[in-house]
């Protein structure tokens, strides 16, 4: 049995060698499909790990507390879309959080609507924060200093991108700009946060930070607290602190969990699961490609069968049974698929290597995805290849021989 298989494979390789171009074109479909699936999943892996790493880097030991929908949807998307927040956090909550023993420092971020007008106007996010932000978030200032609660309330700190967009100067310290007609003076510019476009946390590079005291004049009717960042004592574990904060807040909210306490890992998780969704969509598209490559194999096998009716006639005339002809053609389809999918997996490896060297994406090659893609390609290919093979096997020897 294994021996017959060997013979069939030998024969299939022989056929492939003798019609190189056709075999290669057939395999191309499989190669592209397998390479696409593997590369997409690998790139996704790379981004996920980068997100996790970056989130850990600047918000290490920091809990993010956000208002959540009442009823406490734990869906990752709900925590991403601030607009869905139907509950809100209050100054009281901020106090409660700061009183949790494991929390060393906490800072509320209040969102103020309005665009800023510097040298050019800029539509960023305006956050009213306390001066503690600089110590809570592990981020240095590129220039200047963070304002403190004792400073006058018309100072502002800019995210790197915001500074860049608003002012023509590279170091806009001391320059002024207006928000809702109120003037602010730049006291500092933050270092660029190494954030990816996919992070779930707000991109602080686009943010304008103003002192809490400015809220009263900017938004007389009050502004919602977007999130509270709480730095946890490094002696305490983040998950314990997470539980403690959640417990304390729930107590004040009458047992309602209308807020979410996120560790950096969870924050990254929210991002990565959103990204997973994207990956799944792309993989679904790639699976369709795999199917299409199966149809391609069917097509080529059909042509191959038609082209080789005479050969089938000869083989049957010298004693090949239907099953032996069937096996021969299925083996050919299988060899095309196996060789094609292996080449595809190797190609994906080089795509990943290329992206790693020449772009900031750092794909992590996913062997499992490559394996699954190869199996799927072979499955589809053999399934689709079997139909023309069946057609070949059922040919009447005389009719086949007459066909030149």
């Amino acid at each position: 049995m294994t021996f017959m298989l060997n013979k069939n494979i030998g024969m299939a390789l022989h056929t492939m060698r003798s019609s190189r171009a056709r075999s290669f074109l057939t395999m191309l479909g499989v190669i592209i499909a397998v390479a696409a699936v593997t590369s997409v999943v690998s790139i996704g892996n790379g981004i996920k790990s980068a997100v996790t790493e970056q989130t850990n880097q600047y918000s290490k030991n920091v809990l993010t507390i956000r208002p959540a929908q009442i009823g406490g949807t734990e869906s990752s998307l709900a925590t991403l879309t601030e607009a869905n927040a139907t509950a809100s956090l209050t100054t009281k909550d901020v106090n409660t959080i700061s009183k949790v023993p494991s929390v060393v420092d906490s800072v509320p971020l209040t969102i103020v609507a309005g665009s800023a007008q510097g040298d050019s106007s800029f539509n960023g996010v305006v956050f009213a924060v306390g001066g503690e932000l600089s110590t809570v978030v592990n981020q240095e200032l590129a220039f200047g200093a963070f304002f403190s609660s004792t400073d006058s309330n018309n100072l502002a700190v800019l995210g790197a991108t915001a500074a860049d967009k608003m002012f023509d100067q590279r170091v806009p310290l001391g320059r002024s700009f207006t928000i809702r007609g109120q003037q602010f003076i730049v006291s500092g510019v933050l270092d660029k946060f190494a954030s990816t476009p996919f992070t779930g946390s707000t991109n602080f590079n686009n943010a304008i930070f103003v002192p809490n005291a400015a809220v009263r004049s900017l938004a007389p009717n009050g502004a919602p607290v977007y999130e509270v960042l709480a730095k946890v004592d490094s002696d305490h574990s983040l998950t314990d602190a997470d539980a403690a904060v959640a417990k304390a807040l729930a107590k004040k909210h009458g047992g309602q969990h209308d807020f979410a306490v996120l560790t950096p890992a969870e924050l990254a998780q929210a991002t990565t699961s959103a990204f997973d969704l994207l990956t799944q969509l792309i993989v679904a598209a790639a699976i369709i490609t795999l199917l299409v490559s199966g149809v391609g194999i069917m097509n080529v096998m059909l042509v191959s069968v038609t082209e080789r009716i005479h050969e089938i006639g000869i083989r049957k005339a010298v004693g090949a049974t239907n099953r032996q002809i069937l096996n021969q053609f299925i083996t050919e389809a299988a060899v095309l698929c196996v060789v094609g999918s292996i080449l595809g997996a190797i190609f994906a490896f080089f795509v990943c290597l290329f992206l790693r060297i020449f772009t900031s994406l750092a794909p992590i090659y996913d062997w499992r995805a490559a394996g699954v893609a190869c199996l799927a390609a072979c499955g589809f290919g053999i399934l689709f290849g079997a139909l023309p093979a069946l057609k070949a096997a059922r040919k009447d020897p005389i009719a086949a021989l007459r066909n030149e």
Binding site: M4, I314, R315, A317, V318, G319, T321, P397, L401
Partner: protein, 291 residues
């Protein structure tokens, strides 16, 4: 026991108004060791008969026994196995696989028995030596002359040591040299005990046969035992007078005439020198040279 025995075999093609009666209640018995030539005009059913005998096709009516076993109602896979194990078929158009070497082509029937490659190729190699093609093993069919290709095809038909060789116009696509090469080979195979049935348009080639069957309109109209080395009586008549039924027959007749006429020495001397070179001197050629 006869090698093959056909009893009232008919073959119909198509249906309704388009029905063709290709064979009309043919009965035929061939014993081991016979060398049978089948003659008849184009379309008289010779190929149909060969295909039935070679188990490439099934009769519509009648019975067929091969080595005493009924084979007229076999399923296609059983027929394939019998073709593989007990029959050798030789085609007018050779039908070697163009992408396989001569050796691989000859070994092909054995590959369907599950025999290992080494053993298979050894047997094929031996057969090729027997047909005088040992130094062409690794050639592709396209690199050989027609006669050589047909010799390779004969080797393939022999490789399973068949009880019957069926040849449908084996020399139909060959020039006179090729024909000679092929017929001498078949003649030798006959001498070492093979049973052969072959179709020919060339009366001259009935010299090799021990028996000549004439067909017309799907029926056997004459069955004549003949001496090796002599053109069969009815065939000889056909050589000189008969009306030709087709252009193909005309051509065959012309080349036959050219060979038969003493005033055309070129073909004959060529044939003779070839015989000497191969040092095999079959009776048939000697006798023909004398006559």
């Amino acid at each position: 026991m006869a090698v093959i025995e056909l009893q009232d075999v008919s073959k119909l093609y198509g249906f309704g108004d388009a029905t063709t009666l290709a064979l009309d209640e043919v009965s035929l018995k061939i014993e081991k060791g016979e060398f049978v030539a089948v003659m008849g005009p184009s379309g008289c059913g010779k190929s149909t008969l060969m295909n039935l005998i070679g188990l490439l096709d099934r009769p519509t009516h009648g019975t067929y026994s091969l080595n005493g076993r009924r084979v007229d109602r076999l399923r296609s896979n059983q027929a394939a196995k019998l073709r593989r194990d007990t029959l050798g078929f030789i085609f007018q158009s050779f039908n070697l696989l163009p992408r396989l070497t001569v050796l691989e082509n000859v070994a092909l029937p054995l590959s369907y028995t599950g025999m290992g490659t080494v053993k298979r190729q050894k047997i094929a190699s031996n057969i090729l030596e027997r047909v005088g093609m040992q130094n062409r093993e690794y050639f592709l069919p396209g690199q050989l002359s027609g006669g050589q290709v047909q010799c390779a095809a004969i080797a393939r038909a022999l490789v399973n040591n068949p009880s019957l060789l069926v040849a449908d116009e084996p020399t139909g696509n060959l020039d006179s040299n090729g024909s000679l090469l092929v017929m001498e080979l078949l003649s030798e195979l006959h001498k070492v005990g093979n049973t052969i049935i072959f179709v020919t348009h060339n009366p001259e080639l009935t010299r090799y046969a021990t028996r000549v069957i004439y067909m017309h309109d799907g029926a056997i109209i004459q069955d004549e035992q003949t001496e090796i080395g002599k053109v069969a009586k009815t065939a000889r008549k056909q050589m000189y007078n008969v009306s030709r039924s087709s252009e193909e027959d005309d051509l065959a007749g012309v080349s036959t005439l050219m060979k038969a006429l003493p005033s055309k020495p070129s073909v004959r001397t060529k044939a003779k020198s070839r015989k000497r070179a191969s040092s095999k001197k079959p009776k048939a050629t000697q006798k023909r040279a004398k006559s």
